[in-house]
Structure formats: C-alpha cells, structure tokens
C-alpha cells in the first residue's frame, strides 16, 4: 500500500492511541511478567493434590457447560430457523432472554427456590407427606453439577445467536438440492447446515466458555473450587502470590485455547460469508403432529428454566421484600451504577474508535501493533485475575510518581487513581474494549480501502473522508457497542468488587453482599434491576437479526 493512502498522522491522535493501548495492555503484560518472574519452590503450603482439584473442577465445568450450551443452542437455533411450529416467531427472540441474567444472579435465585425450605421442596414434602431430609433424594444445587446447569442456562444464547445467524446465511441452493434429493430434515441438518455453521458455533461456544471461566460469583457462592476461584483465594485471600501465579499460569492454558478457538472461528466466518449466496428465502420444513409438539417443548425448556422461572421468582421476591430492598442504599447504588456504566461506556467507545482508526489509517510500527493486539485480549481473562493485574502496576506507578514529585516539587500526589472510580473505568476498559473495537472494525471493513485512497487522491481531507464515508457506516455499530458495554458494566462483579473506592457500592456488589449473607430478599430488587437492564442487548440483537433476515425476504 502506498504512503498516500494514510492520513497525515496527527501527533496527538497517535500519542493518545499509543498511550491508551499501552495502558490497556499493561495489566495483561503485568500478569505475564508475574508468571515469568515468580520464583521456584512454591508448593510450600499448597500441594499438587489441591492443584489437581482446581484443574479437574475447571476441566469438568468447561466440558459440562460446553456440552449443554451446544445441545441447547444449536438445536433451538436450527428448529427456529429451519422449521415451522407453533409460536416460532416468539421463540426467535425470546430464546435470547436468558442472556439478561448474570450467572451469579440466576445461581442465587435458584438456590433460594430449590432450598430445603424453599417453595419447591416444601411443596414436594407436603404433597408426598415426607417429613425429613432422609425421606427423599433432592439433588444439591451447590455443587459442580449445579454450577454447570446454572451457567449453561444463561450462556447457551451465545451459541444460539451465532448458530442462528449462520443458519440464516447458509446457501439456499445447497439446501434446496439436499431437499430435492429426498434427504430428511435430520440428514440435511448434519450434512449441510452443521458443517456450514461450524465456525460460528465454535465462536459462540468459545464465548460461552470464556464467560464460565470468568465466572466468580457462582463458583464462590456454590463453593466450587475452579481455577479462577483458587487464584482469587490465593492472591487475595492468603496473599500467596507465588502459588496463585502458578495456578494462573495453568489457567492461561485454558485462556489461550479459548482465545485461539474464538479467533479461528471469526476468521473462518469471514471467509464463508463472502462466498455464501444470499439469493432467496430459506426453505423451511413445516412440522406436523407430535413432531411439532416435541419441538415446541424442546424450545420452551431453555426459555422456561433460563428466564421465566427465575424472572418470576425474582419478581415475587422483590415485591415481597420491597421494603427491605428499596432503601437509600439501593438508590445510591443504582445512581452509582448508572453514572459509572455510562461514563465507562463513553470512554470505552472513544478508545475503541481510536484504536480501530489507528489500525486502518495510520502506519503503525510493530510494537504498537503488538500492544493493540494484546489490548484486545482482556475479555478472555477472568475479571478477578485481571483486577490483580491492574492494581499491581497502578499502585507501583502511583507510588513511583509520588516519590518523584516529592523529590522534585515537594508535592504529595498519593494514590490518585486507585482510590477513585477511574480505576473501575480502567478495569472495564481493559475487559470490554474488544466490544466497540470489534464491532466498529467489522463494519468499517465493508468500505474497501480503495475508497479511502480514491477520496484522498481527489482532494478530500482525511477528516472529510471520516465524516462522509466512515461515520454513517460505523454509527450503528457505535450505538450498539455503547449499549452492550453499558450493560456489561452494569453486570460486572469481580472487578467492581475488588477495585471500588470508599463509600461506593453498585447494584452488582450490593446483590452479591446480600446474597452471600443469605439475605436473598434484600438482594432481589437489585438483581431484578440488573436483569431488566440486561434485556436491552436482547432487544438489540433481535433487531439486528431481523434486519439481516429482511435482507433475504426483500431480495
């Protein structure tokens, strides 16, 4: 590419971008540095058998969640896209609803619901006239199996969403041929749809697994010893950096596998999308008789357990305990949550735009490219681990800066970041930067670089190019990613819990504190609010999908 293509590099723009991506890459680099420099002879207080427990639990957690989200996500996506059955239009969007629940909220809701003294078991006992625990068997929710089910119920929509998008984009011709050859719906699912959708499914799966690796609330609450929980305990609980770091290095194997799985999925989708034919409407199978009832029930199950039941129970709890929930603390937590998430979303989107533009229009050297790539890894690293990666370099920087200022100017600058909400915003930035940068990058790709080159060569200024050609295209992505980041900040727990300043509670920390004190009633109103806010992205995604579908129907 020749030099004329690039914009005249504005030095502020470059320096701010480089600075921002350096900052975002810093915590991730600091974790790696810790891995590299931590000493030997670590297992003083912490032997191999304990590591094995963490490792085994994490492995089975990911295996279990992976299996269940694939089962729920792929099957429902295919039924909804390729077949006609009662209420199919309703299922198209409502199957995304469980996404509104952070897993720690669904976990505590079910804990209260399924508790020995909760409504379900009480009903069973009175109905069957059982008198005590020993009269019957009831599975214990606070277990690995319980955690797997809780997480799968709210994470399958990732697979559903991406599988459905892929099914919508598959080649109609191939499907018609397979239908004309007399293949059954089942056969064309395995022979045509599934191979085509595989990269999208892998992408959805990797996102769901990253979320379950990130989960802190559920595993802490259920006392399930996963790696994330173990690292948190060792680093934060007992200050055993050496062992915690050992464990972190093991966990990074999982992180990298998921990260590359996700990258590979994305790369393949891009290749496929360019060759897929988007000519006519998808041929749907119309189901009759018992088949349509079974499919209806199969689609109802994840919606029922992943959203309806916990939502109704939360609603009930919030009304019953309204006086306990609606306090001045709740109002200030809600206010904090809103302005923190709003401010964070704006900052994260601005940085996202800057990073994407730097990559597109400025000739960057290798180091900056490396920093930008590293800075996009934040979402794959569990928040609890990331928080430690943030606090160490920040405190180090603050203390060094303070020393310098004391010597030079006699000023005491103190800890000017870590005691404020800016450290929270920074934490969110590291974790969620990929949302705007990914969204904007993919929408910008629709404009070939030749457009930029041409416009520049006919004398448009770089700013005009941005305003005239780029902005209209990224506007949608910008709004979408603003909302997605906003909601993710509202739901975020581990970073908020670890880095929040004095007198500062958010909805999520309030919910966690009450729930961990067995006060579910007090927690319910905050939880309900988070879930209601969490419905926003569901609406956005529904709109996006229906937009992409109308493309076929109008052509």
């Amino acid at each position: 590419m020749n030099k004329a293509f690039y914009l005249e590099p504005n030095k502020y723009f470059i320096s701010i971008t480089v600075f921002a991506s350096f900052l975002v890459a810093l915590p991730i680099l600091s974790i790696f540095m810790n891995l590299y420099t931590s000493g030997q002879g670590l297992f003083n207080f912490f032997d191999l058998s304990t590591i094995k427990i963490y490792l085994k639990t994490t492995f089975f957690l990911l295996l279990g969640v992976g299996f269940l989200v694939l089962l729920l996500g792929v099957s429902t996506a295919w039924f909804v896209t390729m077949t006609n059955f009662p209420f199919v239009k309703f299922f198209e969007w409502s199957l995304l609803l469980p996404l509104a629940f952070p897993s720690y909220i669904v976990a505590f809701t079910y804990t209260d619901l399924l508790d020995y003294s909760g409504p379900i078991q009480t009903f069973l006992r009175s109905y069957f006239e059982w008198s005590s625990y020993n009269d019957y068997y009831f599975p214990n929710l606070r277990s690995l199996g319980g955690a797997i089910i809780m997480m799968s119920l709210v994470l399958y929509p990732y697979v559903y969403l991406l599988a459905r998008t892929a099914f919508l984009e598959q080649s109609v011709n191939t499907l018609e041929i397979s239908k004309n050859l007399g293949k059954s719906p089942m056969q064309s699912f395995f022979d045509v749809s599934l191979p085509f959708a595989r990269p999208a499914i892998v992408l959805g799966l990797s996102l769901a697994l990253m979320e379950s690796l990130n989960d802190f609330g559920t595993v802490e609450f259920f006392a399930v010893p996963t790696l994330t929980q173990g690292i948190y305990d060792l680093w934060i609980g007992s200050g055993d950096y050496a062992s915690g770091t050992r464990l972190a290095s093991i966990m990074f194997i999982f992180v990298f596998i998921l990260y590359f799985m996700e990258r590979a999925g994305r790369a393949k989708i891009e290749i496929y999308q360019t060759v897929s034919s988007r000519l006519s409407k998808l041929p749907k199978y119309t189901l009759e008789g018992w088949k349509k009832n079974i499919v209806f029930i199969l689609c109802l199950i994840p919606l029922f357990f992943g959203f309806l039941i916990p939502f109704i129970f939360l609603l009930y709890l919030s009304f019953t305990y309204f006086d306990y929930g609606y306090t001045s603390n709740f109002i200030s937590a809600m206010f904090n949550t809103f302005y923190l998430s709003f401010l964070s979303a704006i900052i994260i989107c601005i940085v996202g735009v800057m990073v994407v533009y730097s990559k597109r229009v400025i000739r960057l050297n290798k180091i900056v490219r490396f920093l930008i790539n590293i800075s996009s890894m934040g979402y794959a690293i569990p928040g609890a681990v990331l928080a430690v990666g943030i606090i160490i370099p920040i405190n180090f920087f603050e203390n060094s800066f303070d020393n310098l200022m004391q010597k030079v100017l006699g000023l005491n600058t103190g800890l000017f970041v870590s005691g404020t909400i800016f450290i929270l915003i920074f934490g969110y930035l590291v974790r969620f930067l990929i949302i705007p940068s990914g969204q904007i990058e993919s929408s910008l790709k629709k404009i070939p670089p030749t457009v930029d080159m041409f416009s520049r060569s006919v004398g448009y200024s770089s700013f005009t190019v941005m305003k005239k050609f780029h902005f209209p295209l990224i506007k949608g992505a910008l709004i979408t990613s603003f909302l997605l980041v906003f909601v993710d900040c509202v739901k975020e727990l581990p970073i908020t819990l670890l880095l929040r300043p004095f007198n500062f509670e958010t909805l999520s920390t309030n919910v966690y504190l009450f729930a961990s004190d067995e006060m579910y009633g007090h927690a319910s109103l905050g939880a309900l609010t988070i879930v209601l806010i969490g419905i926003i992205p569901v609406i956005i995604m529904t709109k996006l999908i229906s937009k992409s579908r109308s493309k076929y129907e109008h052509s």
Binding site: S117, P225, G239, R500, E505
Partner: protein, 331 residues
Amino acid sequence: MKFFFLIFGFLFVYSNIFANEVNVYSYRKPHLVAPLFNKFEKDTGIKVNTVFAEKGIVQRLKNEGKNSPADLIFTVDIGRLDDLKNNDLLQAVNSNALNKNIPDFLRDKDSMWFGLTSRARVIVISKKSKHTIKNYEDLADSKFKGKVCIRSAKHPYMVGLFSSLSFHLGEDQLKSYLTDLKSNLVRKPQGNDRAQVKAIYSGLCEVSVINHYYLALMLNDKVQKKWADSVNVIFPNQSTFGTHMNISGVALAKNAPNKKNAIMLMEFLSSPIGQSLYSTANNEYPVNSKIDLSDTIVTWGNFIKDQTALSKIASFRKTVIKIIDDLNINN
C-alpha cells in the same frame, strides 16, 4: 493534551479535597457498622469513609504502601489482626482511654491492635432434637451422624474454633475429630452462620455451630425470627476449657494519613457510648465490662469463656488449614 492535564489535575485535587475525615477498611459488613459510624459523624463532624472487603485487605495495604489512604482497619477474627501485625502494616497507639477501657488480654501486647467486642462460638440445636449436646467434641459423636451442618471449614470462624481445639486437644485428636465431624455432615460445608440456623429450621439438620450474635440478630428480624426460634443455644465446654471466644477489633494503619481522627474514632468505639451501641445494635459482648448487655443476650446468662490468649490460638491456624485441606473437609 490539555484535556489530559485537566483530568490529571482533577484527580489530584479530588484525592486531596476532603480534609476532616477518617478512612476505614472494613471486614465487617456495611449494615453492621453503619449505626456506630453515623453516631461518630454526628458527634464529631468527622466523615467516616468505608470500603468493605471480604478478603484481601492485607494485600491491598501492601500494594498501596506508604500512600495508602487507610487509617483504620476494622476487622473480625484474631487471625486477621495477627496477619496485619505480622506483615508490618500497623502502628502502635498509646492512648490512656484505650488502655483504660479495654482489658489487657483483649489487646495486643505491643498496642498494635485492640479488641472491641467479643463473640462466642455457640452450638445451636434443634428444639425437636432427641439428643443433648454439651461440648464441641460432641459434634463428631456418631449419634449425630447425618445431622450436622457447618459453614465452610476454611472460614476464619471455623479455623479459629479448630485452632482452639488443636491447642486444647492436640493435633492428632483434631485430625480424628475432623474426620468424624466430616462423616456426620448432612451436606458439604456451605452458606454462612445464618444459613446453618435456616437449615435446622427447615429440618435439613439438627445441630450446628455459629457466632452467638447472629442468633440474636435473627431473633430481631421479621423474616428470620422463625428460624432462630427453632433452635436452642448451648454455650459449649462449660465443664472443660470454656466456650471459644473470638474478637472483633480495630488497628491503626502504619501510614494512616488522618492519624488524629483515627485515634478519636478508636477511643469512641471503646467508650461507654460506642460499646453500648455495639452491644445493643449488634448483640456482641462489649470488652468494656461496665457496659450492660443487650436484652437478647442477657437472657442467655453467664457462661465460662475460654481464657486462652487469642494470639496463642492464632498460631495454630496454618497447620489447621493444612489439615482441613488434607482431609478435604469442604468437598
């Protein structure tokens, strides 16, 4: 670039703007300590800032170093006070008021930390139970097979209790005690102290061990009163070494920026007003012996407390945690 300086300037001013304040890192939940701090704020005009953390205060203080904003660390459990001291994160306080209000054995010999309240680890047993229980050792008795609930064995309150048993009974005895206790459990250790009482109320188990004030708090809670009403409270080991006690305490951070205000708050907490607020609001046993007990706990009467120095018991913690891990009590 101007923008950057503006933000920087704002942060700088922001961090130095409040002068008349005291910053508290608290292991105690906000709703438990809020009444005390509100009273102090009203009396003195000094603003109390709190950040609540269940874990990680030692790490946080270490990282923050000499610029840490923390003045006071407000904590429960002797182990944590001990950790803070051993990590050189505290400074000594020489206050006549504190020395007068708090008996010797409830403060650090180097004046690094001060106990503010004490709490008994009591046994609660279902009113429907056919069995009687007198000692902590009985929890491992086979007559309670499938009838015992406990919270996570690695929670500081459990570790404290097991450390005290390790001191009184010896390490080998503790191992066999824990093995038997594990086999008596009806479910794997989970929930907090309140959850154990709830489990007894619902009939899941018959007996558990909790901090006494939780029961008192529950008796005064609309929803949880029926849970608390379903159990009897037993002060264990009255004929042997006495009931295991732990403390909540306060310590002055090594680099406290508002030292004067911090010591004022410490003295307030040990004063008759602070102590009676503590005992009436939280139903804990005040360290200042002149203070009346709350109505709820006064009905439970006097009992024999284990008088062993808490720092002695705390020294067993590491081995106890190792034993808990080895025996895999929590899983």
